[in-house]
Assembly symmetry: C2
Homo-oligomer: 199 residues x 2
């Protein structure tokens, strides 16, 4: 391989070209909310809806992140910060690749969410506040985590022993205790539809 | 959102469904070789070829990894291990998303490459040894790194002060000092073509 070749042919596929190939505009749809607020279920169903409409999506959640990329991170404040930072950086890579990324993590700290927002172009980060009162989440307690947290068995548990900093101006605010799953998903879809479609 | 809904509609889009939507089989094409061996140039041109044929790809390299996801990692042995581990985990996510991922990192240690291989299904990891003698890489020294390493200004520099463990049984072995850029790219494409196409 001659040095000439190396210089001459160095060329990268741009995000604009990927957008043309994938026939969609990429986006991060960032769900934030308490444990048990319904983030994962909404994320799953939103992805299903987008998939049916032909959009190329990927979902980042505890299932594929905590046991993989972030398996060497603890639940200390610093660890949780790094957890969100890495997820944000991976979401950015997917956006660069032209994909629509949905994330479902508690992400309780404003500053961390703002950091992720700053990683991508303006408008490419859609913050979705999945709002459900602590009492309702705790009463459901699908995974039994709140009971454990109350007993002090889980340190730094959001809502119990660690704060959840509510988004002040999220792009979308769904009330998962009042609206049905379908309504929550539809509300998000209505907001993003014209941002992801190519006309 | 009722508990009924939550249970009933929890459903994830599978890799198989993504393969159908994207009309391709995902794969990691892992380029390994000395600094200056031509990994990035081969990766760029391979991606360009795949793009032209309609494949949905993404390239992980120093440009998008070192200043983002891995910006908090140093160049110690432990740091370099963690560098490759994270890249492998991200490549795995892209494969799960149905994408063809090309990576261009020195990745000098056998054990680290084997770890990445073990993350994905058998056959989904294609190791490409971009083989170029140290003398040739050092003579080119496009980025001036070898000169600095010889002066001791860069510690743990692969080939100078840190070993490059050659792949023993790479899926593809290209000799970038003898073959042209086009030949190297074509050799890789010929090998992967029937693995990524859906018939």
């Amino acid at each position: 391989m001659s040095a000439n070749n190396i210089v001459k042919q160095h060329y990268k596929i741009s995000q604009a070209e990927r957008i043309r190939l994938l026939q969609q505009k990429p986006l991060i749809i960032w769900l934030t909310g308490l444990s048990g607020s319904g983030k994962s279920t909404i994320a799953d169903n939103l992805e299903q809806l987008l998939f049916e409409k032909g959009f190329k999506t990927y979902l980042l959640d505890g299932d594929n992140i905590r046991h993989g990329l972030n398996k060497n991170i603890d639940f200390s404040e610093e660890g949780r910060k790094e957890n969100i930072r890495r997820i944000g950086e991976v979401a950015k890579l997917f956006v660069d690749a032209g994909m629509i990324v949905i994330t479902a993590f508690i992400s309780p700290f404003k500053e961390d969410r703002a950091t992720v927002r700053s990683l991508v172009s303006e408008g490419d980060f859609i913050e979705v506040f999945v709002d459900c009162p602590l009492e309702v989440c705790e009463q459901r307690d699908v995974k039994g985590l709140y009971a454990k947290a109350r007993k002090g068995e889980i340190p730094n548990f959001t809502g119990i022993s660690s704060p959840f900093e509510q988004p002040e101006q999220p792009e979308i605010h769904v009330h998962s205790d009042k609206a049905s799953l379908e309504e929550c998903v539809q509300e998000i879809y209505s907001f993003i539809q014209d941002k992801i479609e190519i006309r």
